[in-house]
C-alpha cells in the first residue's frame, strides 16, 4: 500500500512540476511605470489578427481611443466633424484613412489612424533596452498581471493578447486574472493589477464622454493617471472655455497626450458587428449613441419583389393582413424599467421605444442626430445656458391596454417630477451623474449627504434644480455651462417624463419588470405583454407621430444564454428577423450570404496600464 | 428400508479466476427413509457444496460435471435431479427436499413477515387457500415451539432472536412435509444451550414426520447425538462412511482418527489434545493420490500416487484408505481412538 501511495504521490508531483516549470519570475508592476515598457507592449500586439481572423466582423483594429464615426464639436461649417478625421488634420502624420471601404484583412485595415502602431522590431528593441535599464537577468521572467472579466466571448482576446506579448517580448509572462464582471469592478479600484481590460461606449455625442474618464480623480480612473496638461484641456473644455473647432482640437491634443506621450492606454479595437438581417427590413440601423435601434423608423419593404421565392412564407408571417410584425431576440432580461433609476442597456433600449423625451433620435436615413419629440420646439438663450421647451399638448399617457390614463396628457410637470427623482439623493439613482454631465444648475444635491436633513428640507433643495415648469406645456432648463451635446442628451431615457399621480399610486413598484401595468407610455409603442418568455411592443394609436410608425407589433423572444450558433439557427428557422454573428466561425460560414449586414458601433475596447502602481 | 436418495459418482466444479476448483470429487452415497445421515469434515471439505448440489442451488459458477442424483418418489418413480429441468426442480424443492441453513440471522428475508415466509411454500406446493395456508403456518409455528403464533405471523425477522429464527427456518422447511430435510450446520451460529434445543427439535420433528435428514456439521458431538449414519468428507471426497458406531468406535481412515483424536471428551481428559497438522489441499489442483496423505502420520508411499478405492469393511462401513489393503502394513490408530474402540468392546479389524 505504501508503494501505491508513494507512486501516486510521485506522479502527482510530476504533473505539478510539468505544469509549472520555468524561470525565476519577478513582478512587472515596477516596470509598467516606465513609458517605454508600456510602449513596447503596445507595439507588440497584432490587433488586426484579432479583428480580421478571430472576430472577422469588420471591427477596426484600433491604435486610437476615440472611435471612428464619432462626431464631436462643431466643424467650420457648423456641422459635426468626425473626431478621427480632425485628428488626422491636426496630426497629419497618420496613414491615409479610408474608413468603410477598406476591405477587412487588407494592409489598409492595419490601423490607419493612431499611435504606437504594431511594430514587432521596435517593440523588441524597446523591451530589450528596458530590460537592461531595469537590470533584469536573462533567466528572469517578468510577470504582468492582467485583470479581465470572464465573459466567454472575450477569452479569445485575452489569450491572443497574452500570446502576442509573450511571443514578441521575450521573457514576459501575462498572468490572466479572470473574475466576473462585478468582481472586476470591485477589484479595479484596489489597483492590484498591471494591465486592465476595459471598454467604454459613449453616453452622449461629445468626445468628453471618453476623455473624462482619465482626468485626475475621476471615479473611473482606476489607473490613477494624472497629467496636468491633460486635466487642463479637459476641464477647460468642460466649462466651455473652448468653443467649436477649438474644442475639438483640444480633445485631439488630449488624446495624443494619453496615448502617445504617456501611453496610459493600449487601444485594441473598435467593435463592429456582422449580422444576418432580413433584406426587406428598412431603416434598421444602429445609432452610435444611445439605444441600438429606434423602432419608430423601422419598416418592412412590403413589395413583392422584396420577398425572394423562398421567403414568401415569411412574408405571410410578418405581414399578416393589416398587421406588420417584427420578431427579435433578446438575450438578457430587462432589470428595471423606472427611467430615473435604471442603468442597463436593455432597459434604456426598451424605454426608448415606449417612452419619449424632449428630443427623439433622428431617422438614420437622414443626417439629423435628433428631432423634437415631446418638445414641439425650443429656444436657447444667447449664452446657451437657458433652454425653453414648448411641449406638445396632445400626447396622452397610455396604459398597457392601449387606452388613455385618466385623461392625462404629458405636461411640463411630468418632466420636472422625473428630473427631481433623478436628482433625489433618497432615490440614489446611479445615473444621476448625467445631471452633472449636462451641467444642470443645482445638480450638487444629487451627491449631498442628506442623512441629517428632513424630507421637507430635501424637497426644498430639489426645488432649486435648474428645471422648471414655466407653464403647463413650457419647460425651462437652466444650465451652468453651455454644452453642444445637451439637446442630444434629451433623448436619453434618464430624462424622460414620469406621471406623478401614477407614480404615487404605485410607489416603489413603479417600473417593476414583468408587469406592463406598472408603467405609463408616451412613446411610439406600449408594452402589451411581458413575461419570462419575452415581451411584445404594440404600436400606440395615441402616439402623436403614429403615422410615421410602420410596424404594428414587435415581439421579443427572451432566450438567455443562447449559444451563438443557436441564435443563428433561430434566424434560419424564421423565429427572428435579425441576428448577430458572434464568432469568427459563424462569420466565416454565413458571411457571404446576401442578407449579411455590418453594423458599426462607437464602443472602444482597450487595455489600461496601471501607471500609479504602488 | 426404503431408499430415498442415491448419489452416484457426483463431481462438482467451480470456475474461478484461479481456474477450475474440483469441489466434489466422485462422491457416492445413499439415503433411506427416516434415517439421519451426518456429514462431517473440516470447512471447505465440500459438505455444503454436496447438499447444495442435491438441491441444485449451486452458485452461478458451479456446475455438476457428471454423476447422478437419483430421487425416489413415493410412487416409485425415480428422477435424476442432476438433469432435471428448472420447472420440475421447483416441484421437488420445498415439497420433497427441504433445507435449513447455517445462519438464521441471514436466511430469512428481512422485508417479509414471518407468516408470509412460512405460507409461501405451503401455497406453492399444496394448493391451499390463503386462509388454510395461514392456519397451517400457525400450526407450524407452534410446532416449532414458538408461542403466540398468531401474533408472530405478523412480525418481521429482526424482531426474533437467533434461536427463534432458526425455528422459523425449520418450520419453513417442514411446511410441506418433505421426505428429505437437509440441515446445513443449523446450529453453528447459535449459543450452546440453543444448539441443544434446536437439535432436539429436529430429532423430535423427524420422528413425527418420518423424514430422512442429512445433517451437515463439523461438530462430532452433535453427530453422536443425532446421526444414524456418518459420512466423513475430506477434500471433496467421502473418505469414510458407516453407522455412527462404525465411525465412532471402529474408524478406519487416518483422517477420521485425527478428527476423533482432536475432539475433547472423557477419553482424553487431561491429555494434550491432538491436532491434525497442516492444512487441507488446494482443490484447484487436488493431489494425485490420497488427499489426506500429506498430513497423515500413516501415509503409505502408494498414497501419493494412487487414489484409494472405497474399501468395504462391513455391510454398513466403508473407507477409502490403502491401509485397508490386505498387503498394507498394520498400523495402530492413535491411543485415544483405541481406547474409544475398547470401550465399545470391539477391536479395530484393520
Amino acid at each position: 500500500m505504501k508503494k501505491v501511495l508513494s507512486i501516486l504521490f510521485v506522479l502527482t508531483l510530476a504533473i505539478l512540476l510539468a505544469g509549472c516549470k520555468g524561470d525565476k519570475e519577478i513582478s512587472g508592476s515596477g516596470m509598467i511605470q516606465d513609458v517605454n515598457v508600456r510602449r513596447a507592449i503596445s507595439m507588440a500586439i497584432d490587433k488586426a489578427y484579432y479583428t480580421d481572423t478571430i472576430l472577422a466582423n469588420e471591427s477596426y483594429p484600433a491604435d486610437y481611443y476615440i472611435p471612428y464615426n464619432f462626431y464631436g464639436g462643431i466643424g467650420d461649417n457648423g456641422e459635426g466633424v468626425d473626431f478621427r478625421v480632425r485628428a488626422e488634420q491636426v496630426f497629419g502624420d497618420f496613414l491615409p484613412f479610408t474608413k468603410y471601404d477598406m476591405p477587412a484583412g487588407s494592409a489598409e485595415s492595419q490601423s490607419p489612424s493612431g499611435y504606437n502602431h504594431y511594430n514587432i522590431e521596435e517593440a523588441k528593441q524597446l523591451w530589450e533596452d528596458s530590460r537592461k535599464r531595469f537590470g533584469i537577468e536573462k533567466d528572469e521572467t517578468v510577470v504582468f498581471k492582467m485583470l479581465v472579466h470572464n465573459t466567454a466571448s472575450w477569452t479569445s482576446l485575452y489569450d491572443h493578447v497574452k500570446a502576442e506579448i509573450e511571443k514578441n517580448l521575450t521573457g514576459t509572462k501575462i498572468k490572466i486574472i479572470s473574475v466576473t464582471f462585478g468582481e472586476k469592478l470591485d477589484k479595479a479600484p484596489t489597483g492590484d493589477f498591471d494591465i486592465l481590460f476595459s471598454g467604454w461606449g459613449p453616453d452622449y455625442m461629445d468626445p468628453i464622454t471618453y476623455l473624462d474618464l482619465f482626468v485626475t480623480g475621476n471615479g473611473h480612473n482606476n489607473i490613477h493617471y494624472s497629467n496636468p496638461e491633460y486635466d487642463y484641456l479637459i476641464n477647460q473644455a468642460k466649462i466651455g472655455a473652448f468653443q467649436g473647432q477649438e474644442r475639438l482640437d483640444a480633445y485631439v491634443r488630449a488624446e495624443k497626450i494619453l496615448l502617445q506621450d504617456d501611453v496610459a492606454l493600449l487601444p485594441i479595437f473598435q467593435s463592429n458587428s456582422v449580422g444576418l438581417r432580413r433584406t426587406q427590413l428598412q431603416n434598421f440601423y444602429t445609432q452610435s449613441v444611445g439605444p441600438d435601434y429606434i423602432l419608430k423608423w423601422v419598416s418592412w419593404d412590403t413589395t413583392d419583389d422584396a420577398w425572394a421565392a423562398k421567403e414568401a412564407d415569411l412574408k405571410a408571417a410578418r405581414i399578416d393582413g393589416d398587421e406588420t410584425v417584427l420578431k427579435l431576440l433578446e438575450t438578457s432580461k430587462i432589470p428595471d424599467m423606472a427611467s430615473f433609476t435604471t442603468t442597463d442597456q436593455v432597459s434604456f433600449y426598451n424605454l426608448a421605444q415606449i417612452n419619449e423625451g424632449l428630443m427623439v433620435a433622428g431617422n438614420p436615413q437622414s443626417n439629423e442626430q435628433y428631432l423634437p419629440g415631446m418638445a414641439e420646439s425650443y429656444t436657447v438663450s444667447e449664452d446657451g445656458k437657458v433652454y425653453t421647451f414648448t411641449l406638445r399638448e396632445d400626447q396622452p399617457w397610455v396604459k398597457s391596454d392601449g387606452t388613455q390614463y385618466n385623461n392625462e396628457v404629458v405636461t411640463a410637470e411630468d418632466f420636472v417630477f422625473a428630473w427631481r427623482k433623478l436628482a433625489d439623493p433618497r432615490v440614489a439613482s446611479e445615473y444621476s451623474y448625467l445631471l452633472e454631465t449636462i451641467g444642470v444648475k443645482g445638480w450638487e444635491i444629487a451627491y449631498e449627504d442628506v442623512t441629517d436633513m428632513t424630507d421637507a428640507e430635501i424637497d426644498t433643495e430639489l426645488a432649486k434644480l435648474g428645471v422648471e415648469a414655466t407653464g403647463e406645456f413650457e419647460l425651462t432648463v437652466t444650465l451652468n455651462t453651455a454644452a453642444d451635446y445637451f439637446l442630444g442628451m434629451m433623448s436619453f431615457p434618464s430624462f424622460y417624463p414620469v406621471n406623478e399621480a401614477f407614480y404615487t399610486s404605485l410607489g416603489e413598484d413603479y417600473g417593476k419588470t414583468l408587469t406592463p401595468e406598472n408603467l405609463l407610455y408616451n412613446g411610439a409603442y406600449y408594452l402589451s405583454n411581458w413575461d419570462n418568455n419575452g415581451h411584445t411592443l404594440q404600436k400606440s394609436d395615441l402616439y402623436w407621430d403614429k403615422d410615421t410608425v410602420s410596424i404594428d407589433k414587435v415581439i421579443y423572444e427572451l432566450v438567455e444564454s443562447a449559444e451563438p450558433e443557436v441564435q443563428v439557427q433561430m434566424y434560419l428557422d424564421g423565429d427572428i428577423d435579425s441576428v448577430i454573428l458572434r464568432t469568427g466561425a459563424l462569420v466565416e460560414t454565413y458571411g457571404a450570404r446576401s442578407d449579411v449586414r455590418t453594423t458599426g458601433s462607437t464602443t472602444a475596447w482597450y487595455l489600461e496600464f496601471n501607471i500609479n502602481n504602488h | 428400508m426404503e431408499k430415498l436418495l442415491e448419489v452416484k459418482n457426483l463431481n462438482v466444479t467451480f470456475e474461478t479466476h484461479g481456474g477450475t476448483v474440483q469441489a466434489i470429487r466422485d462422491v457416492s452415497f445413499d439415503l433411506h427413509r427416516g434415517e439421519t445421515l451426518a456429514v462431517v469434515g473440516e470447512s471447505g471439505s465440500g459438505k455444503s457444496v454436496m447438499t447444495k448440489s442435491v438441491m441444485r442451488l449451486l452458485a452461478d459458477n458451479g456446475n455438476i460435471k457428471h454423476g447422478e442424483i437419483l430421487y425416489h418418489y413415493e410412487d416409485g418413480t425415480i428422477v435424476d435431479i442432476a438433469k432435471l429441468r428448472d420447472g420440475e426442480m421447483h416441484k421437488i424443492r420445498g415439497a420433497e427436499i427441504a433445507m435449513v441453513f447455517q445462519d438464521p440471522m441471514t436466511s430469512l428475508n428481512p422485508t417479509m413477515t414471518i407468516g408470509k415466509q412460512i405460507m409461501e411454500p405451503i401455497m406453492k406446493h399444496q394448493n391451499l387457500s390463503k386462509k388454510d395456508a395461514r392456519q397451517k403456518a400457525i400450526e407450524l409455528i407452534s410446532m416449532v415451539k414458538i408461542d403466540r403464533p398468531t401474533k408472530r405471523m405478523k412480525q418481521y425477522p429482526h424482531e426474533f432472536s437467533g434461536g427463534m429464527r432458526q425455528r422459523i427456518v425449520i418450520a419453513v422447511a417442514l411446511a410441506c412435509n418433505p421426505n428429505i430435510l437437509i440441515c446445513d450446520e443449523p446450529t453453528t451460529a447459535l449459543d450452546v444451550t440453543i444448539q441443544a434445543q434446536i437439535i432436539d427439535l429436529i430429532k423430535e420433528l423427524q420422528q413425527q414426520t418420518k423424514a430422512a435428514v442429512i445433517f451437515i456439521t463439523h461438530d462430532l458431538g452433535v453427530v453422536a447425538n443425532i446421526a444414524d449414519r456418518v459420512a466423513v468428507m475430506y477434500a471433496g471426497k467421502i473418505c469414510e462412511i458407516g453407522t455412527s458406531s462404525d465411525v465412532f468406535y471402529t474408524p478406519a481412515h487416518p483422517y477420521t482418527w485425527g478428527l476423533l483424536a482432536s475432539k475433547p471428551n472423557t477419553d482424553n481428559l487431561g491429555e494434550k489434545l491432538y491436532s491434525i497438522p497442516g492444512t487441507p489441499p488446494n482443490l484447484l489442483d487436488p493431489p494425485k493420490g490420497d488427499a489426506f496423505a500429506l498430513r497423515s502420520n500413516y501415509a503409505l508411499e502408494l498414497d501419493f500416487e494412487e487414489q484409494p478405492p472405497m474399501f468395504k469393511i462391513s455391510d454398513t462401513h466403508y473407507a477409502a484408505t490403502w491401509l485397508l489393503h490386505p498387503d498394507a502394513p498394520k498400523v495402530e490408530p492413535p491411543k485415544v481412538v483405541q481406547r474409544r474402540g475398547a470401550k465399545k468392546g470391539v477391536t479395530n479389524n484393520g
Binding site: 480580421d52 478571430i54 489569450d159 457571404a592 | 462412511i241 497442516g278
Partner: protein, 392 residues
C-alpha cells in the same frame, strides 16, 4: 455402494509401495498454503479482469504521454507554434495557421485526417480567387439557397489554401492558431491532475473527518460533526464554489481546493460508517483490552481494513472531479482558457462547431475515453478489492 465388493485382485497396484513413509506436512503447507497478501491478491484479481487491465494500461499511457508531450513542447499550450517555412526560411504568418483541420501524414486516405473540410458557400464567394484559389477545392454540389442565392458545398483543402502543404497538424489548430495536439494533451494532463489532486484532497479531508467522527461515534463530538456535515452538504456546491473562487485568483489551485471542498463529504460519511462497523469488531476490542492507544487503534487496526473502500471511492471521485471541472468550464467558472483542460477545450469547441467540428469532437472523444478508462478501472478495483470475492 452396497454392490461394492472388496475385490482386491482387480486393484492393480505396486504392492511394494504399500509401506509407511513419514508425513510431508511441510509439503502440504507449501502446496495448499499459497496464501497471497491482500494487495497482492487484489492486484492479481485486477489483472485477471481484462477490461480493467486495459484501462489501467491506457490511463498510465495517456498520463505519461501527456506529461511527455507537454514537457517537450514548451509554452506551446499558450503560444501558437512559430513555424518557419522550410523553403523560404520566412516565418509562416499566424493567419495561415488559424483553424487548420487535422492532417496526419499517411492517413489522408481515411477521409478524416486529410486536412480537408466541407464548406457551404455562396457561389459568388468562389469568384474571389484570392481567398479560394481554384485548385484548392472541389465543388461537391450546388443548389438554390433560401435567400435565393446559389449555395455551393465545396471540399476545401485548407492546407493548400493557406499555402502550408508541407505541414501536418495532427489534431489541427484552433481559432487562435494554437496547436490542438499539444493543447489536447495539456488538457488531459491538467484534467487528470485536477482529478487526482481533488481526489487526494477529498480523501485526506474525508478520512481525517470521518475517522474522528467514526471513532467517537455516537458521542457528542460525532453528533456535532455530523450535524455540520449535514448543513454543509445542503449548501449547493456551486455557491460554495463561487464564494471560494471570489476569494482566490481563478486558476489551478483555486479550482482544486474548490472541488475538494465540495467532494469530501461522501468520503467522510463512508469512513465514519466503516469505522462504526469495525469499532465493535473483536479484533479492535482485543487490541483495546491490551491497551492499544487511540492513535494506534485508528491507524494500525481500523484504517487498513477500510483502505480498500477508500481506494475505490478515490478512483470514482477522479472522473467526478474531471466531469465537474468540465461543467464549470462550460459556465465560465473553470480554468482560464490559456490553461487548457478538457473542459475548456470542449467548451471552445462548442463555439466553433460549425466551422471546426474537430475542435469539439477530438477533446470530447479523448475525455470520454479517459473517463471510460478510469470508470472501468474503478469498477475493476471495486471487484478486486472486495474481500468477499477473494480467492475467486
Amino acid at each position: 455402494m452396497n454392490n461394492m465388493k472388496n475385490d482386491f485382485s482387480k486393484i492393480k497396484i505396486d504392492k511394494s509401495k504399500l509401506k509407511l513413509v513419514s508425513n510431508r506436512i511441510e509439503e502440504s503447507e507449501e502446496i495448499s498454503g499459497v496464501s497471497l497478501g491482500y494487495w497482492k491478491d487484489s492486484f492479481r484479481r485486477l489483472l485477471h479482469n481484462k477490461i480493467a487491465t486495459i484501462s489501467l494500461i491506457l490511463i498510465g499511457f495517456i498520463f505519461i504521454f501527456s506529461i511527455f508531450i507537454t514537457s517537450t513542447t514548451p509554452h506551446s499550450t499558450v503560444i501558437e507554434p512559430q513555424i518557419k517555412d522550410p523553403d523560404t526560411g520566412q516565418m509562416i504568418s499566424k493567419k495561415s495557421l488559424t483553424s487548420v483541420p487535422p492532417r496526419i501524414k499517411g492517413l489522408e486516405w481515411l477521409g478524416w485526417f486529410d486536412g480537408r473540410v466541407d464548406k457551404l458557400l455562396p457561389k459568388i464567394a468562389l469568384e474571389n480567387e484570392v481567398k479560394y484559389p481554384k485548385d484548392t477545392y472541389e465543388i461537391v454540389e450546388c443548389e438554390e439557397g433560401n435567400t435565393g442565392k446559389e449555395m455551393c458545398t465545396i471540399d476545401l483543402d485548407v492546407y493548400k489554401q493557406n499555402g502550408i502543404e508541407q505541414l501536418y497538424f495532427t489534431f489541427g489548430t484552433d481559432q487562435l492558431a494554437r496547436d490542438n495536439w499539444t493543447r489536447v494533451w495539456a488538457g488531459v494532463r491538467n484534467s487528470l491532475a485536477i482529478g487526482l489532486l481533488a481526489a487526494v484532497f477529498d480523501i485526506v479531508m474525508g478520512v481525517i473527518y470521518g475517522s474522528i467522527c467514526g471513532f467517537y461515534g455516537g458521542t457528542k463530538v460525532d453528533n456535532i460533526m455530523m450535524r455540520f456535515i449535514e448543513i454543509y452538504g445542503s449548501i449547493p456546491s456551486i455557491v460554495l464554489l463561487i464564494l471560494l473562487l471570489s476569494f482566490m485568483d481563478r486558476g489551478f489551485g483555486a479550482l482544486i481546493i474548490a472541488l475538494g471542498l465540495t467532494g469530501w463529504i461522501g468520503v467522510a460519511r463512508m469512513v465514519r460508517a466503516q469505522y462504526l462497523r469495525y469499532r465493535e469488531h473483536d479484533f479492535v476490542l482485543a487490541s483495546r483490552t491490551i491497551g492499544a492507544s487511540t492513535k494506534r487503534l485508528i491507524f494500525k487496526h481500523i484504517f487498513p481494513n477500510i483502505i480498500g473502500q477508500i481506494v475505490i471511492l478515490a478512483t470514482f471521485s477522479i472522473p467526478a472531479a474531471i466531469f465537474y471541472e468540465a461543467s464549470l468550464s462550460f459556465i465560465g467558472l473553470g480554468l482560464p482558457t490559456d490553461q487548457a483542460s478538457l473542459g475548456t477545450l470542449i467548451n471552445n469547441g462548442i463555439t466553433q462547431r460549425s466551422v471546426s467540428a474537430y475542435l469539439l469532437w477530438i477533446p470530447t472523444i479523448v475525455l470520454s475515453i479517459v473517463m471510460l478508462a478510469i470508470n472501468l478501472l474503478a469498477n475493476g478495483l471495486r471487484d478486486a478489492l472486495d474481500p468477499r470475492l477473494r480467492g475467486r
